[in-house]
Symmetry: C2
Subunit: 369 residues, 2 copies
């Protein structure tokens, strides 16, 4: 059977190996495996979330409330936005997908950083749109401006802070560029500000803080993406959201599949948003533990990218090879993210708990003698 031509250019997404497979392959004990590859919250979710799920477990036969009234109201209150300025997706991934289908066509160009969140390109390929990347790996706003002027892309993605590198553009500088983009595109270029790790960046440095309400009030062509998968510890529940002016939200709603979030995910996200003390404690521990990786790198003369997230990226030089090191750690049951597939000799480690980080640092020390 023939399929649409775009499919010929899409490689099937390859998931990371499940823990069970690593346990089997290397003869490990499951409890000894540490997964620090997907930037999940190492402290889990708020205890109130776990309690909420247990309490609601018997309701699984009922379709979710597709209006998502409870969750959208809470997000509205949390961010001080209007009710119609928010859409909830199965992870913020799904909002990216909706943006792509609502705005881009085969003849569109999509602008993004040299190295950034992989799903922007994957969804662009679903449409058959052309991806334009800045020469710099990290976000370089001057390059963004130049390529924007040259290509007039339909969508520009900014990952603030950036995954998988960890750097973060300054909010003021970003806003200056957004003003240019809005003016020169007559508000027709959709600007996606992916704030999946914004809570981390804002906590570390307020000059990195993007306030969604402020953003969309200034820029009618911008959409802010947030997620419950990171600091809120709900990676397994698939809940993200988009915040934009109502006309953008309405366009995305037209393409949203009904019941795109599970009943338990909705309940969990509502409760998670209320436990801001859990969020604060996570942020504090994250940056305290991150210092240990920075010290490790500095003491050995290894480069790292100062991170505004819950992970840190170490950039290697000869004779070190990120693929060898990641493989060595994997055999000991430590899963980190090799960035070789991005064309760099580097790896990304999610900041774990104190105990996990101790084990990782020992293993790194061993493998980088």
């Amino acid at each position: 059977m023939r399929f649409n031509e775009e499919l010929a250019h899409i490689a099937t997404y390859q998931a990371g190996k499940p823990i069970e497979e690593i346990v089997r392959t290397f003869g490990l004990d499951e409890k000894d495996v540490i997964k620090l590859a997907s930037n999940e919250n190492p402290y889990g979710a708020s205890p109130s979330v776990v309690e909420c799920i247990r309490h609601n477990a018997h309701k699984v036969s009922l379709y979710p409330d597709d209006s998502m009234h409870a969750l959208i109201s809470r997000l509205q209150q949390h961010y001080g936005i209007e009710y119609g300025q928010c859409i909830v997706g199965s992870g913020s991934d799904q909002i990216i997908e909706l943006c792509m289908h609502a705005k881009a066509t085969k003849s569109s160009k999509i602008l993004m950083a040299g190295i950034t969140f992989a799903m922007y390109e994957i969804y662009a390929k679903h449409i058959g749109a052309q991806v334009i990347r800045t020469p710099s790996k990290e976000h370089n706003l001057a390059e963004f401006y130049e390529l924007f002027t040259q290509h007039k892309p339909d969508i520009v993605f900014f990952c603030v802070p950036n995954n998988p590198l960890g750097e973060c553009v300054d909010a003021k500088e970003l806003y200056r560029l957004l003003a240019h983009i809005e003016q020169e595109s007559s508000g027709e270029t959709l600007v996606v500000i992916d704030g999946a790790y914004q809570e981390f960046a804002s906590y570390k440095d307020s000059s990195k803080h993007i306030d969604p309400r402020d953003l969309i009030n200034r820029f009618a062509n911008a959409i802010y993406l947030g997620t419950f998968s990171k600091v809120y510890g709900l990676g397994g529940m698939r809940v993200g959201y988009g915040i934009a002016q109502e006309n953008i939200i309405q366009a995305l709603y037209k393409l949203r599949a009904p019941f795109n979030i599970t009943t338990l995910s909705l309940a969990a996200a509502c409760v998670a948003l209320e436990d801001q003390e859990f969020v604060r404690a996570t942020l504090e521990k994250n940056f305290t533990q991150m210092l240990r990786y920075e010290e490790f790198a500095e003491s050995r003369g290894i480069s790292y990218i100062p991170s505004y997230t819950n992970f840190i990226t170490l950039v290697l030089e000869n004779p070190y090879d990120s693929s060898v090191i990641c493989d060595t750690l994997l055999r000991q049951g430590i899963i980190i993210r090799n960035l070789a597939s991005y064309g760099i000799n580097a790896f990304r480690i999610t900041i774990g708990t104190q105990e996990q980080n101790t084990r990782v640092l020992l293993a790194l020390t061993e493998s980088m003698r």
Copy 2:
């Protein structure tokens, strides 16, 4: 901001009113509200599923196993298919969406019954494809054949049994038509057999049974859709699947978003599939209870469509008006599905528990004096 032109022709999906809103609007007690509008399992989910969710509630921070190895292996075993012949979606809805994006374009035609599952048309509109419907409301295979020959559609949908009407085509007759379609399209027309309610149909009448393995072995251009939302009682968990030859599954995988199922949904579906005794008991009670609606209708000379599902559709004549009756029941806290929006004077009732049906039948008797 301008969006893609297809969006102009899409009406935003309007969800049914959540129970909370009905409670508020009509001053009811939540426990007195009966929802028999979405064909959920009135007996909930298997107790082992509820236990599994409680047991796994603390794992919500971890991304799901994106290989879905555990669930796909169980489906493989359940249906006697090959491992590569199955893809799991966020409800079987998502598989419909993937089929549409993989196979259809703006210039495609999509063939379906006069009245059938609403999402086929909605996803066709996302693409901008043209929907062709049979003149008959129920599945009429002669009309399907004629329209197929005339239009050469890229996709044909068969809902077996059909939602929201409840009728079911005979498997042998369907296979005869599928042979024509395969031959005349040289295997290029994708045939979607939506088996969301197949467990009910097969239980009632084995001549309605579609065996997915047999189907795809006979027809390389067919895909079978199944769901955990109905007889398995997992409507709130969003798990469905598609079964087809490997080349079709691989095409859909290219467009699948990673992590499209929650961690708890995967665990719940695995356990649900194992409790076939729960399935059997649900089926038995469903058809025993359905007799009460048939008797009610017959005793009052009201037409109904003999149903092979977990719902029954009553077709009214003057002076009865489905909108009036549904509204009357709603005010008493009984939510059923008015089919006026499908252009027929009819309503659909999910077969509830004995107690629920007693209340519904009393209310219907009152409102149809």
